[in-house]
Amino acid sequence: MSGKSRRDFLKSTALIGAGVTGLTTTAKAGPQNILSEDRMGVLVDTTVCVGCRNCEWACKDAHNLPAGNLEDYEDRKVLDTKRRPGTDALTVVNEYSHGKNSSLPIDVKVQCMHCDHPACVSACIVGAFTKHENGTVTWDTDMCIGCRYCMAACPFQVPAFEYDKALNPMIMKCDFCFDRTKEGKLPACVEICPVEALTYGKRSDLIKIARDRIKRNPDKYVDHILGETEVGGTSWMYLASKDFAELEFPKLGKNPAPGVSESIQHGIFAYFVPPISLYALLGGIMWITKRRKELDEEVK
C-alpha cells in the first residue's frame, strides 16, 4: 500500500544500535503539501442516520472480515453498549438518546477520520502510514512493527491492535476503501447506506452542503461541522443535532495533532536514548521475525 519499499526501510534502519538518528529520519512529517484541492471526503449526517448498521456489514464484506448475514444486523440490542472500531470491524455505529422532543435515538457511525494532517502518519516510526492525495490515510501491514505509536497519537483513538494475536499482530483501521475508490467505486459503507446519511463527495463541496443544511434548519442542527477545522481538518465530517461532546467526540483544537505527537516523540528521543534504542532494537527484531515468518510462508 505504502510507496515505501522494504529495501528503503532496511536502509534507513540498517544501524539499529545507533538508532536515534536513523529512526527520526523515518518518522514522516505530516504531509502538508500533498493535499489535493479536489480531495474527497464523507459528510456523516447523524440526524439522518437510522442506525441500521448496514454500513458495518458492507465494510466487513468489502474487507474480507467475517461479516455474517446482513439480515442479522437488524438486532438492535448490540446498540445497548458503546463500541469502538476494532480489528473485527473497521467501523461501528453507536446509539445515543436524543434528549429533545424526540423519541428517536441519535446514531453515530465511527471510523477513521482521514485527517488532513494525520497524527498516525507522523507518529509511525517505520513510515507504515501514508496520506494520499485523495484524502485517504492508509497503512502498510507488512511494514507495521506493532509499536502502537499510531494508537497513542490518533486524536480519535481509531487504530486498533490485534491483541489476541501473540505473533505478528496487526494494526487495523478504516482505509476509506482505497482499493474501491481507485477503481471508481464508492466506499462500501457509502454505497449501502439506505438513507444516504453518508454523502461522498469533494471535501470542499461537502463543507458548502453542510453549511447550507445548518442554515436552512437552524433548529435541527448545532452550528458546528465536526472535522471542518478540528486537528487541521479531516476528510470525514459530521453534522449533529446536539453538542458533539454528548456524542462522545473528543474536544479538539484547530491545530494539527502531529505537532504534538512529534514533539513528544522527539522529546523522548532527546532525553531517553537508551530505552528508545532498546525499543527500536526490539522492534527491529520483531520485524525480522515477522519477515522470516513471511519468507517461511513464501517457501511453503
Partner: protein, 379 residues
Amino acid sequence: MKKFLALILVLVFTIGINAQQSPGKDHSKLNLSCKTCHSCDVPTKSDPCLVICPREKITTVYQKPEQTPELITINQLSDRYGPVYFSHKIHAQMSIMSGGCENCHHHNTSGPILKCNSCHETSRKREDVSIPDLKGAYHRQCMDCHREWSHETGCNSCHTLKKDLKDTKNESLQKKYSGKDHPVIIEPTKLVYETKSDKGKLVTFYHDDHTKKFGLNCTSCHKQESCTKCHDVNNTDKSKNQKVVTKKTFEDQHSNCISCHSKTENCSKCHGEKTLEPFDHGKKTGWALNKHHINLSCAKCHGSKLPYNKLDNKCLSCHKGWNAENFKHSITGLQLDEMHSELSCEDCHTDGNFGIKPSCDGCHDDYSFPKQKPGKLVK
C-alpha cells in the same frame, strides 16, 4: 434573429430549471417570499438561482386521498430485493393529520405531482450530492415514521429478498388494498390532562363538543401529528389510560386553544381542581337548547366570528322566512286549533319574543297559558 434568440432563451431556461416545473407566469404574485425559491436578489430566466428543495407549502394540486393511486410499485432500484409495494391511498389518508401531501411531495411548485426521480438521481455516484439520491430519498421518507413507531430498521419490514419472491405480479397485494380505506378514527369524548398549573391542575377537554358543536375540523388542531400518536408498538393497549409526558413550552401547549379562546379568558375556563362539566347552553346563557337546536354547531346560529354575540330570543332573527302561514306550529309540541291557526304570531307572542310566556290578553279577559291552551298538545 429575434425569434432565434427567444428560442435560445427558452432552451437555456428549460435546461436551467431542469427537473423543476415552470411555476407559471404570475407566480411572483403568490403569497410567498421570493427567497423561498430563489437564492439571489434578481433571478433571471437564464439564471433563476433556485435554492435546493425549499420544502414549502406550495403544492397547488391537491387531491383527496381517495382520488390518489391505491398501490404504487417502487421497482426502479430493485437489486438485492424485489419491488416495494406502497399502499399510497391509506398513507395519504393517514397523512391528513400529519402534514398532508407536502410531507412527501415536498417540492411541487405547480402542475401535476412530480415523480421523485425528477429531482433525486438514481445513481449514488454523481456530481451534485447536495440532495439525496433516489434510494436515500425513498428511505428517508419511509423510515422516519416507520422506525418511530416500530422502533425497527430491518429491511424486511418493507422489502422481500428476490429469492423469496413468490407473487411477482403482486396479485394478492392488489386484492388486499383494492377499495380498502384507513379505518375511521374514533374520536374521544372527554380528555383530562394533568398540568402543573397553580390555576387548577386538571384541564378537562370535551373533544366531541369541539368537533360536533363547535364545528372544528380534525386538521384545525391536528396538523403535524406524529404517527406514534396512533401507531406505537410500545402502547398496544389503547383502553388503558396513557401517561404521556410532554416537554412543550407554555406557548406551544396553549397555541391550539388560544386560536379560539382568547388569551384574556379566565384560566378557570379550562383549568380546575376537579374535572369540569361539559358546556351547557342553558346554564351558561339561561336559554336551554331544545331538541331542534341541541345538535347544531355554534356557528350555525352565532356565525363564525369570535367571541360569539348574544342572540335575541326572536325566532325570526334566524328563521327569517317564517310566518303564520308556513310555520308548522305542531313542531313546538302544541298543535293550534282551527280558530288560533288563523292568527298572526305576534297576536300571542308579544313582540315576537318567543322566550317569554305567550299572552292571551289580546282576545281573552281571564285566560292564561298554559292553563288554557290554544290547541292540543302533541307527542
